[in-house]
Symmetry: C3
Subunit: 347 residues, 3 copies
């Protein structure tokens, strides 16, 4: 896949400084780039690679100091956005699967839309309704009465339990589990746990992406709901009756306990935790490893466990690092006060 840098400049509305006629053979990270590649400066911390990169061309901001003349510059407003735009333009992900494999098991009472593709050993159970252009990769199991909207892609070894409702343009990566029983028990007088049937479902709305090895439990009653545009990373736990509102992100290994509600445009970063039966307002950012047992009703960034507003958290962390100094000063003060007392008593 080759393209002319001049064409790329048109796509990203950029300005070429250098050789306007070069052909790009691939996109690459600045530290890996080879002659023929177009690269970019993603973060300031990558500037150290600029002097040594072998790339033939580089996406930079307009004010970038062009200290090398053996590389062609493509000036744009945002190198990151321009780079994404070029990836989207020139590369289509493979996701190769077509037709209904003869080794797929489709129940006669299931309905499969036009142009859908089902891989080998797929199990599609009674009452399922699969939209048009849906791809379901090999060895994925879908139990009864599941709905999947048009253009959705379900990768291999996924398990979808009965009654789940999945929207359009949804992507579910390999080995994830949708609709397993929630973790709900009664405890008796002997401290023995008894399972409470989990009779609800999971609803995943349009444009949601779900990573690999994710667990999303069905509701105890009602529904666990992942709303439009939510993006979920790998190894995430979504417990029964959780609701995640539109355009929020849940990064890898984060977890949300039962019945909690996450607002719109929230970011739960890696390994963050939200306890059960609480609420996060819209636009709340939980930093990596942050945890909260209380509702957070004010938008903003939160850090630590228990989570605090980030400005306050950073102040406290600075004080914490200073504890040795404080302890020493308390010792010193006690000594001085004692001396003062003695001095005063002597006067």
């Amino acid at each position: 896949m080759k393209f002319k840098l001049a064409d790329a400049a048109n796509i990203v509305d950029g300005n070429i400084i250098g050789d306007k006629n070069i052909t790009i053979s691939s996109l690459a990270k600045i530290e890996d780039a080879q002659p023929g590649d177009l690269t970019f400066l993603y973060l300031d911390s990558y500037k150290k690679f600029f002097t040594s990169t072998k790339a033939s061309a580089i996406l930079v901001k307009h004010d970038f100091i062009k200290s090398r003349d053996d590389i062609t510059y493509l000036e744009v407003e945002s190198p990151n956005k321009a780079f994404s735009k070029l990836i989207k333009h020139y590369f289509k992900p493979e996701y190769k699967l077509s037709g209904i494999d003869t080794a797929a098991f489709i129940h006669p009472d299931a309905v499969v839309g036009d142009n859908a593709a089902l891989g080998k050993n797929v199990v599609l159970s009674a009452g399922c309704r699969i939209g048009s252009n849906v791809k379901i990769f090999h060895n994925t199991v879908i139990l009864e009465n599941v709905e999947i909207g048009d253009n959705s892609i379900i990768f291999q070894n996924v398990s979808i339990r009965e009654g789940s409702r999945i929207g359009k343009n949804v992507i579910i990566h390999a080995n994830s589990v949708i609709g397993s029983d929630g973790f709900g028990y009664d405890i008796d007088e002997n401290k023995v746990f008894h399972k409470i049937p989990q009779i609800g479902i999971v609803i995943i709305e349009d444009d949601v992406e779900i990573g690999s090895n994710v667990s999303i439990d069905r509701a105890s009653i009602g529904a666990t709901v992942i709303k439009r545009g939510v993006k979920i990373d790998n190894l995430v736990q979504i417990a029964h009756n959780v609701i995640i509102n539109e355009d929020s992100i849940v990064a890898s290994q984060a977890g949300i306990a039962g019945s909690s509600k996450i607002g719109k445009n929230c970011y739960l970063l890696g390994q963050a935790g939200v306890a059960g039966h609480i609420e996060l307002a819209d636009n709340v950012i939980m930093h990596p490893q942050a945890g909260t047992g209380k509702s957070i009703m004010k938008e903003g960034s939160y850090f630590g466990s228990p989570a605090k507003e980030i400005k306050e958290a950073f102040k406290l962390e600075a004080h914490y690092r200073n504890l040795g100094n404080y302890a020493e000063r308390i010792n010193q003060l006690e000594k001085l006060v004692k001396e003062l007392q003695e001095k005063l008593d002597r006067k």
Copy 2:
């Protein structure tokens, strides 16, 4: 599935205030309930939904203030327990699977009990012994010499390695892995790791439930043991040679490192961590994200990382939030003491 409220009242030993003749069409959460539904007050924090719920009937405690007269009250001692009881009475989970599918692979040297059900693409290897009424869902793989007791349910895409022994009435949810090799290596003088064969097994006793995407490793030697009645949530790590005693709970994303022993009736809550080669006494509660590298031999609640008794942990957290104040007061004291010194010197 409809039932008369009067019948429900008998089941939960409750007292109807209002229309004794209504028929309930479903159970629902208070914020989702529709006309015809029976709902309940699970937590005080849900009281805010009482004035607006569309439910026809509601489970409440005897002393609940009945400020609405367009809803029927069903008074009980514990609305939560009553609600669970009704779910258990009126709803049976589906878990639909019957018969031995022709697309299941059963080794001729495996034994399958009466009325067991095996789904499509299930692999049941030589020497396995499966009890009566067991259900093994599609695409689950069971290696050699695994035993599974009566009435157990193994969902889809589960992997059970050779020699695992699983009791009666066990539930294992989708995509979990039982009996993988423990994480055990020797390190040589060049800091290269060499695998130590993991020759033990996993034993899961009766009445255990295991969530989705769980990893339970086989022992290096001997057995990793999950005792009767233990309930394990999704994405949990149980390392080699761990022992979890009866009726304990391990919530989602918690992890227990190698050779540690968890007592009876313990609760490891979400994302909690227990290091290797230590012990937790009976009745220890590890709060979410709590972590311990030392044995905890005294029952009670523990919070934070490193975990502390909760009362102490909360006191320390309060002091921590106050660090800015303390620092300021140390500054102030230093100023005052200096002034005092100068004053005293002048006298």
Copy 3:
């Protein structure tokens, strides 16, 4: 599997004190050992089991006090290493799988090496190249153009996405996912996320072991790289473009965010977290639940979140536990200073 203790003594270069003629029937942990077993003292904390162990023989250091005369001692320099050596000598893991199962699906354009074994329902796609003696267990799915080197073992229900390159002597445990899309999006002016195609691959070098339920994402561009000898435990997250250098360890439930580089001989212990776009030097140890958002360029042990050098972290933790005392002393100082002021004013 029985062996003579005298033979074992030769293998581990040990010295028998007691019955030189006994036959060992198995190896066992000290607390589980039965007559006929050989056991060992793995940690000092296991010494408490010495007086009661039923083992017939025990591996001990030369200076161990031999207070029992009803047990045979096998003196060695390191009981742990000797025990591992004996396990490796006498026990070969089963990993039973041979031949190409007739229920495996092998694309005609895939190449399979000599003596490779493929289980039931395995899907091996076009362009794959599988080395000699490779074992791929049941229900594992391998998409297009994947390479797997000689002697590697892929357990059941694993998903390997297109283009992944896996070395020799690699082990991948059940239900892990290699090469899923990285978590990469653009955000537009309406705060809606748009997927950036993930066009890179995953490279896993020789002698790597990967636990169960692990997620390793393909690079956005270029490659996510796990270098020779790295060992990864269960439920670990490796994001796109991460590089882990030789002979490092990532323990269970740890996670590494996008584009970060981990040095050689690093240990990321359980539930540790490394944020994106940072670097860890060689020989860095992240303790359990430690987390860092900044590069760590100095070798050593790090503790806590945010992670600090362990000596400093332990000092700060000691101060933290002392906060109640400090607060009380500040109160007391304020009282004393006030008294001094009054006293001084009166003089």
